[in-house]
C-alpha cells in the first residue's frame, strides 16, 4: 500500500478521457466497438465524459497513415477526423467539457494555429486546450508544403518558438477593445488591435491578428514529450503534461522530476499538472478483472499483431516468425531506417538491442512464447480491478504524487468509458477527492490553474 503526506488536505483528482486511438490498445474487433469516424461516436464519448464531470476530452493526431515495411498498417484502427473541426462541433453538444486537441508545431504555422485555437475557445466559451507536439520525420512531411523535415535537434526549438509566437498573437488583443457602440459609431476602442511583429530563429511574421481575445485568453497548454528537452519545455511553458508514466514508482519519479524543474523557470508547484494516460479494466471483482484484462491483452496482441510489434523492435522483416515459438535468435537490425513509419517511438539500434535483451530475459524466466512475451511486456493496463479497487488505487496514486489525475484511455469506442463513469466516479466522489459538479466556467478554472500572465 502506498503512503501519502498527511500534512496537507487531500488533492482533488483530475480526470479526462482520451478518444480511443489508432494503436492496438483499441479493440475494434469487439462486437460493441463503434465507428471511429462518424460524429455520433464523438458525441457519445464526449457526453459520457461530461456526465462523469471529467475535466476534458483528448484527441490525438497523426498526419500520415502509418506504414510498416512500406505498406499501410492495417491491423489497427485506421483513419480519423480533423482535430479542430471535430472539437468545434463537439462544443455544440457539450457545456462544460474541455476540448483538448493535439496539434503539430512542425507542419503548421503559428498564425493559423493561433487563429484556430482562439476561434475554438470562443466557440466553446472557454474550453479549448492544445497539446503541443513536434514531429520531425520526412515521412509525414511528404503531405505538406513544408515538406522535408526538421533536424531532431531543432524540433523543440521550433515548438518553443512556435508557442511563443502563438502566445504573442493571443496577447495582442487585451479583451476590452470591442465597444460596438451603435450610438457613437465606435466599434473598436483602438485603431490597430492585433498588431504584432515576431522574429526569432524559426519565424519572421508581422501584421494584425484577426481574432479578438477569447474567454480563456489562450488555450490551456499541454505537452506530451518525455525527453529531457520535452520535460524542460513543459516545465517552462505548459499548464499540463500528458505523460505515459501511469504506474506508481515511475509516476512518482516523473512527477518529482518535472515539478522539480518548475522553480528554475520561475513557476510554482501547482502551475503544472501531471496527467498520465491510463488504461483500465473494470469488473465486479478483482479476480474477474484480472482474467478480463488477460483476455483483452490477447485481443490487443493477436498473433499477427505480435509479429508486427516484434518487427517494430527488431526493425527487420520477421513475417515468417512463429508467434507461438520463442523470440528470434537474431538480433535487432543495425539499420536506423525504421521499418515502421509514422510512429512516435523511434529508437536507435543501441536502445533496440537493450530492449530486445530485456524481452528475452522475461521470456526465458517465465517460459513465454513470442506472443505471450509481447502481451507481458507491452501495454499492460494501468488499473485493473473492481470499482472499489480502481478508485482507491487512483486516489492513492494521486495522493502519493504519482500524478495529479489521469487521462483515461478506454479500449472500446465509444462506450468503453461509461462503466468507469458509472461505477468509479461515484466512489471517488464519496472519498471527497472528485467534484460533484463543475465548479468553473472555463477549462482553466476547472483545472485549478491561474490566469496566464502576460
Amino acid at each position: 500500500m502506498t503512503t501519502h503526506r498527511t500534512d496537507r488536505p487531500k488533492k482533488q483528482i483530475h480526470l479526462a478521457a482520451h478518444f480511443p486511438g489508432v494503436n492496438n490498445t483499441t479493440v475494434w474487433s469487439d462486437p460493441s466497438s463503434g465507428s471511429h469516424i462518424e460524429f455520433d461516436s464523438f458525441v457519445e464519448f464526449a457526453q459520457i465524459a461530461e456526465r462523469g464531470l471529467f475535466d476534458f476530452m483528448f484527441l490525438a493526431e497523426g498526419l500520415r497513415l502509418r506504414e510498416q515495411a512500406g505498406k499501410i498498417y492495417d491491423l489497427d484502427v485506421v483513419g480519423r477526423p480533423d482535430t479542430f473541426t471535430v472539437l468545434a462541433a463537439l462544443a455544440a453538444v457539450t457545456d462544460h467539457l474541455g476540448l483538448t486537441g493535439t496539434i503539430n508545431s512542425t507542419f503548421n504555422e503559428p498564425y493559423e494555429v493561433a487563429r484556430q485555437f482562439a476561434t475554438l475557445d470562443h466557440l466553446s466559451e472557454g474550453r479549448a486546450a492544445w497539446n503541443v507536439v513536434t514531429s520531425w520525420d520526412a515521412f509525414t512531411g511528404e503531405n505538406f508544403r513544408r515538406g522535408g523535415y526538421l533536424p531532431q535537434s531543432e524540433r523543440y526549438e521550433r515548438a518553443r518558438t512556435f508557442l511563443d509566437a502563438a502566445i504573442r498573437l493571443w496577447d495582442t488583443w487585451k479583451g476590452d477593445e470591442i465597444l460596438a457602440d451603435k450610438a457613437s459609431g465606435t466599434f473598436i476602442s483602438t485603431p490597430a488591435p492585433g498588431a504584432f511583429e515576431h522574429r526569432d530563429s524559426q519565424f519572421d511574421i508581422s501584421g494584425r491578428f484577426n481574432v479578438p481575445r477569447s474567454p480563456q485568453g489562450r488555450p490551456v497548454i499541454f505537452q506530451a514529450g518525455d525527453s529531457e528537452e520535452g520535460r524542460d519545455f513543459a516545465a517552462a511553458k505548459a499548464d499540463a503534461i500528458f505523460s505515459r508514466h501511469s504506474h506508481l514508482e515511475d509516476g512518482q519519479r516523473f512527477y518529482a522530476d518535472v515539478k522539480g524543474r518548475l522553480e528554475g523557470f520561475g513557476r510554482r508547484h501547482e502551475d503544472l499538472l501531471i496527467l498520465p494516460a491510463a488504461t483500465y479494466v473494470l469488473a465486479d471483482t478483482d479476480a474477474e478483472a484480472v482474467e478480463l484484462a488477460r483476455e483483452i491483452r490477447l485481443q490487443q496482441v493477436s498473433p499477427a499483431t505480435a509479429i508486427k510489434l516484434l518487427e517494430q523492435l527488431w526493425n527487420r522483416d520477421l513475417s515468417d516468425h512463429d508467434p507461438d515459438g520463442p523470440l528470434p535468435t537474431v538480433d535487432p537490425s543495425e539499420n536506423d531506417d525504421l521499418i515502421a513509419k509514422g510512429r512516435a517511438s523511434a529508437r536507435s539500434h543501441g536502445d533496440r538491442l537493450e530492449q530486445a535483451e530485456r524481452w528475452r530475459e522475461i521470456s526465458r524466466a517465465k517460459g513465454l512464447s513470442t506472443r505471450e512475451t509481447i502481451v507481458e511486456v507491452t501495454g499492460r493496463q494501468s488499473f485493473i480491478g473492481s470499482a472499489e479497487t480502481i478508485a482507491s488505487t487512483i486516489d492513492d496514486y494521486v495522493q502519493a504524487d504519482a500524478a495529479d489525475g489521469y487521462i483515461l484511455v478506454p479500449h472500446i469506442t465509444p462506450g468503453g468509458l461509461a462503466p468507469f463513469v458509472d461505477h468509479v466516479v461515484p466512489l471517488l466522489q464519496e472519498r471527497g477527492v472528485f467534484r460533484t459538479a463543475y465548479e468553473g466556467a472555463t477549462l482553466r478554472e476547472n483545472l485549478g490553474l491561474r490566469e496566464p500572465t502576460r
Binding site: I37, V43, G79, P81, D82, V93, E142, K182, G185
Partner: protein, 408 residues
Amino acid sequence: MTAPTPRLRLAVALDGAGWHPAAWREPNARPGDLLTPGYWADIVQEAEAGLLDFVTIEDSLSIQTDAPFGAEDDDRTDRVRGRLDAVLLVSRIAPLTRHIGIVPTAVVTHTEPFHLSKAIATLDYVSRGRAGVRVQVAPRARDAALFGRREFPEISYADLDSPAGEALLQEAFDEATDYVEVLRRLWDSWEDDAEIRDVATGRFIDRDKIHYIDFEGLHFDVKGPSITPRPPQGQPVVAALAHRDRPFELVGRSADVGFVTPRTPADIASITARIRTAQDAAGRSGETVHVFGDLVVVLDETEQGAQDRLARLDEAAGATYESDALVFTGTPAALADLLATWHAAGLSGFRLRPAVLPHDLRQITQGLVPELQRRGLFHDAYEATTLRGALGLPRPTSRYATTEGTPA
C-alpha cells in the same frame, strides 16, 4: 451543357453584421455577439427555416479592411474588426442544423491543402453530408507577412489588369487549381468501402482501397492518402467567386459552383459562356457546374423603405456603399422579378449578400422565399439529404475505385 433546372437555388453569404459597413449600427443588429456561437446559430437557423440551399461564411487571414488591395491594414475604428475561423464556425453550427448546406470560405494561397481537405471531410461527417468549401486566393503582401514564408508584390486593384497584375493572378489561380485538385484527390484517396473490419483476418482496412495521391506541383507536393476516410458526399462541394477570365477558368475546371457578379442579363450570357468554355476545355462538359449570381440585397416592404434604409446606412458609414456585386434595393417581390429574369437568362441560382443581419436575411426567408415559391421557382421543403443532392449533383465514385461495376 447542363440541363435546365426546375427551380432556382438560393444561398446567402454571411459576413459579420452584414455586408454594409454600417450594418452593425442598425437597430436589430447584434454587434457585440459576432464572436459568439449563439449569434451564428440564430442566423443559420433562420436561413434553414427559409429552406435556403446553403450558407457561405466569409473569412480572411488578415484583418478586415476597407481597402483590401492596400499595402497596409486600415486603422478605422468605426467598422467591424475581428472574426472567427469560418471552417470551425460552421462546424460549431452544423450539429444545430439538419438540412442546410454549410460552405465556409477558406484561403488557399498560404494554407496547407492536406489540413483543409481533412477539415472539410470532417465537416461533411459532422453535418452528415452538407459540407462544401468556397476557395479564396489571397496573393497579397499583407497576408503573406502573417506566415512569413513567401513574398508577394503589392499590386493595387486598379493595377490588376497590368502585366504584373495578370502574372500575380495567374500564379495565385494556378496554385488554387492545384490546391483544389489536391483536396479532391485526398477526398477520393479512400474508397468508400476501404474500412472492412474483417475480424477473421484482423484487418481493419483493405489497404488496396486506400491510395496515394502523389501530387506534384509548383508550390507543394502531397503524397497522401488522407488520414480521414472518404466523406459522406464523396466529394464535398467546391465553390469560388470569380470576376475575370482566370478565376472563371478555375470555376470551369475545378468548382461545382461559381459565384459571379453580372450587372445585366447580357453579362450573364458572356460570363456563363466563358465558364462553359473552361468547363469544356477541362473535359467536364457532362458535369453540372452551377453559376450563381451574387447580389447585395437591401430589402423592405416598400421600395421607398429600402431606399431610405440604404441612405441611412450610407450616411452612418460616411460613404455610398459600393460592391463588386449589384446592390439591389427594393421589395422582396421586385427582387423575385429580377431573380426570375436572371434565372431564365442562364443563372442556376443566386447567392444573396444581406446588407444587414438579421433584417435582410428575414426579408429573404419571410418575403422573397414565399414569393418565389408562389411562382413555382423555389422548393416548398427540403428534399435531398446532402448538399450535393440539393444542387442536383450525383455522388461520384472515387477516381481511384477499382471495384466499379463488379458484382458485390
